[in-house]
Symmetry: C2
Subunit: 612 residues, 2 copies
């Protein structure tokens, strides 16, 4: 499949956009008219530049408010079209997008629309141009693709065909199945965009919140499958209007876009009847659990003390680097004091995931454009299979202590106390929570979905005292690997509150015992306001004894239909804190209902510790 | 009228919020439950703190999903209520907000709702608590205030009344007129919020985009007028959920909120039958034109050269400060080289507006909480009447060269060439455009509306190459004073593109002559891409000669039903540039259709001049 993208999807000047699109490996580009109008490049310059970058100009767009109009408006439209054909000739573009009319002047008359579009196609033919007619979801009279198809069919001109846009079709819940009945050679162009489900007018939604396929909630792959069954073999072209992508760096957005197309093609190939060529993407390998979490903590002392108080033992030291391995059950925390101190202090730097085949996991990540980290860090280190996640977190693929593979643990000399002797109740890492840079949230969610095969859950809004937080979990089907992605909902500009907290949640088999242990050892845990417990008693009747225990130990509580959830937090060290959780029954959430109280408490402790 | 505000409207901890609310001069506060739950302050602490700040606790809220439910849910609800009555007793709060039920468990049975609310009111009465029942716009069965009133009337208990919320009523276009039929003593509470018109689901709209009265498009004052006619004499309380206010500094938001209430009361008093006490706000005095625009430009040379090329003459120098006065017609530009160089270079620092009574203008601004600037800057200066706008721009109220008042021009020694000799075609300042900090846009729009009496126009979205820009003009009725307020739509974080451009638009009686003059004098004007002119020819048939002229001189063109608009831009010096405009016929806009091309061209010149 040819991969294309509209220039409007990226930020910057037209020249910058073309460069980024070429660098990301696209085959073609749609020139969005406004990008040309604001550019000093002549159409001939654009044509040459695109050719130099190996890009064909697949579409010139948009041409608006043409069809089904009174004669004087038609004349002006034809005049306008002649000017655009001239520009296209200079650009070397042979396909023009005509959007269904949104003007009040449009007449609700399909025959008239067909007649005038035929006239346009005749003129276009004289310039070697094809016209692709698209039903906008908010078109005045023509707002679904099948209606547009009836008009194109009636117009019956070889230079007139359809443009299908996944957003316009799926956002209005129009059934895409009937695409299969359209002859493939009458589909002149296919534009793809996804979007998160948002309760708003379709035009406002389209202008601000489109995203790349796989980042939202629309079944773009399903639609593409219908399209491909028609025999369509033109470009699949991304056309995204997104407030955040408009501001983000074009090179990076273009890569994100390409990742989205590669992942989409994989799904479509799996769904399709026969595999298409180019399907060289290694299949997804679901990680089976967390191997470790690594903290960059230049002074390892405070983190070690905290881990000790939670029942961890230091099980080993790295042979060649100042890295400690702390263990309890299958939970392993690396404390790396060899890294430079970030300005915010200790941070979560890396996550190890158990993979059935680490090398294959890296190959897939690489094919999906993730930066692969150097395999060998020191001459004596075991080889590492690792990539960088969009927020810079290093993701290692591991087979821990398996006979069939070298293990990262081999790099560690064992201390006297083996891990089996850890005294605590913690069994494994339940999840990690990573705060994302505001302009990479969608990219991160696609990374975890496509590269690691994790399933995205619903987006939540959590009120922090200094702004709304957006939170979305991704997980394996069995919950063995869970990652919570958080981001400030609107860019939080005030440096004071802009700290990107991250945390590691540890599963305890007996959270009451773990809490008592932590308190006895003097660990700094997050004090929860009494008011929370008063409200908990109002909301739930858990019996006086249990309520007393929760309050005494500072445990937070939630429940859903499947079960109960108990959790508490340690104090924050730098950017990082630990959460201890216990899932009772089949509880599947993350205690989001308690997040506002937790965030308020964390801000309060922070302010108190370092008043400004 | 008692002035109150809900804690949820501000950012920070509960303690911070109370401090800000007290400092802004409110009489009372609504305690939003989540703010209490996340706070270390006990209810008794909150009570004491509020009392110390002179605040009464007017409402505890919200109590959700209580009425019209099966017996087991009712029992849990009553149990929950007893806990809340206990908290309220500790807080010293005697009014509880009960929102109409949104739960799927709610039964569509008004009699049952009334019966259960009566039961709640009976329990509340035992604790000295009143229950204020509010119809949420998205209530499951009860979603308008009159429906809620029928239920309250049927329940018929002295401790049960209504809470009216302007957003819930106006957002759903429910006619507020019938409020007049409700006895004032059954209206227990009134919450006020405004919102901009946005095409989305009412719940999403409410949660993210509410703003203070006067900042949006709802007729909040009209609703309050109905309320006051019932005899209601309780608090008018602001309750705003806004993504941006959640992040902004609480002290400042509280002041903005107070300004909104003061301005609202003025409108209501003017609309009401009899003036109410406390109406000491000096009436609005519409400015009649621009007196001057002042640029802070440490090295005055480049700005002076540019002004000279546009046909300005240097008409005078300030007696005591390094400030030059450049004049042409009634357009006056001050170039102040005594100010410190901002990191972005020259900036628009002040605007002078012609006022019928400068001292009264300042009094009004002060009553609306604008910072008043010191009247005397130097021992020899004429007294100044000036305030600071929310973005820091100084706004001076002037009477230029009028016999009845001292004139700021008296501070300037006249140069040899009097202003009347300026050779150019520029007649006056058409408008100024000020880029607002992202978190003060609504505040700015209220400032210009309430303090200066300018009328806000529609909000526009303008695509900049590095993000959407929001733009809203405010003007006097006759267009004598026009200010365009611009802001990056989502916070633009990338410092490289974050420069807050400002500009002064100068009206020319003959823009062709002005453009020729500027080019002849070698002024750096903004080059407009040829592609723009190709498109202009496609869109309009202005005749070959006129098209040629526009292209040759780099003029941009727009038209509307009333007339035509021609404009061009100078190069940018620091943060500032000039626009030269000519309005033909009754054109009332600002050439917004050309903004994307202008912005692209400006970014292109900028990148070229200082590659990074």
């Amino acid at each position: 499949m040819r991969r294309s993208i509209a220039t409007v999807s990226l930020s910057g000047s037209l020249a910058d956009k073309l460069t980024a699109i070429g660098a990301a490996g696209f085959d073609g580009v749609e020139i969005f008219e406004n990008d040309l109008l604001g550019s000093d490049m002549s159409p001939e310059d654009v044509r040459r530049r695109a050719a130099d970058l190996g890009l064909t100009i697949d579409l010139y767009q948009p041409f608006r408010d043409f069809e089904a109009v009174p004669p004087d408006v038609l004349a002006a439209g034809l005049r306008r079209a002649e000017h655009k054909f001239a520009v296209m000739e200079r650009l070397g573009a042979t396909r023009l997008l005509v959007c269904s009319n949104v003007s009040p002047a449009a007449i609700d008359d399909d025959a008239l629309a067909a007649e005038q579009l035929r006239l346009l196609a005749e003129r276009a033919a004289e310039h070697g141009v094809d016209v692709a007619y698209e039903a906008l979801a908010w078109g005045r009279h023509v707002d679904d693709y099948f209606h547009a198809w009836r008009i194109v069919r009636a117009a019956d001109h070889p230079n007139l065909g359809l443009c299908l846009d996944s957003f316009h079709i799926l956002a209005r819940d129009v059934d895409p199945y009937a695409i299969r009945t359209i002859p493939g050679d009458k589909i002149f162009f296919v534009q793809l965009a996804d979007a998160p489900t948002l309760p708003m007018d379709v035009l406002h939604w389209s202008r601000h919140y489109r995203c790349f396929p796989g980042q939202g909630d629309l079944d773009v792959a399903g639609l593409v499958d219908h399209v491909l069954r028609t025999g369509y073999d033109g470009p699949l072209s991304l056309e995204v209007f997104n407030d955040i992508f408009r501001q983000a760096a074009a090179m990076r957005t273009a890569q994100d876009a390409m990742r989205s197309l590669i992942a989409l093609e994989e799904v479509v190939q799996r769904a399709g009847d026969a595999p298409r060529p180019g399907g060289a993407l290694p299949p997804p390998l679901a990680p089976t659990g967390f191997a470790f979490a690594e903290l960059a903590a230049p002074s390892a002392g405070p983190v070690g003390e905290l881990l000790g108080a939670l029942g961890f033992v230091r099980g080993g030291r790295h042979a060649g680097k100042p890295v400690e391995l702390w263990e309890q059950g299958a939970a392993r925390i690396l404390v790396n004091s060899g890294s430079a101190e970030g300005q915010d202090g200790p941070a979560l730097a890396a996550v190890g995931l158990e993979s059935p085949d680490p090398a294959a996991s890296v190959k897939r990540a690489e094919a999906l454009l993730s930066p692969v980290l150097p395999r060998l860090r020191g001459p004596r280190d075991a080889p590492l299979d690792a990539v960088a996640a969009p927020d810079g977190t290093e993701v290692f693929f591991c087979r821990t202590a398996r006979p069939d593979h070298s293990s990262w643990t081999d790099d560690f000399s064992r201390d006297r106390r083996p891990a089996g002797e850890a005294p605590g109740e913690i069994t494994h890492i339940d999840h990690v929570a990573l705060t994302q840079p505001w302009h990479h949230f969608d990219e991160a969610s696609l990374f975890y979905r496509s590269v690691l095969g994790l399933r995205p859950h619903d987006s939540l809004e959590l009120p922090d005292p200094y702004g709304l937080m957006r939170s979305r979990a991704v997980s394996t089907e069995d919950g063995g690997v869970r990652v919570a992605l958080n981001v400030a909902y609107v860019g939080a500009h005030d440096g004071r509150y802009d700290l990107a907290w991250q945390h590691v949640a540890l599963a305890s088999a007996d959270i009451v015992a773990t809490a008592r242990r932590a308190h006895a050892a003097g660990a700094a845990t997050l004090a929860i306001p009494d008011n929370y417990y008063d409200d908990l008693e109002a909301r739930f009747d858990l019996g006086a004894e249990r309520h007393r225990l929760l309050r005494e130990l500072g445990l937070l509580y939630d429940r859903d239909e499947q079960g109960e959830f108990l959790h508490f937090y340690t104090a924050t060290i730098g950017r990082v804190f630990f959460e201890i959780v216990q899932r009772l029954g089949g509880y599947r959430g993350y205690g989001a209902v308690n997040a506002p109280v937790r965030l308020a408490a964390q801000h309060a402790r922070r302010t108190r510790r370092a008043p400004q």
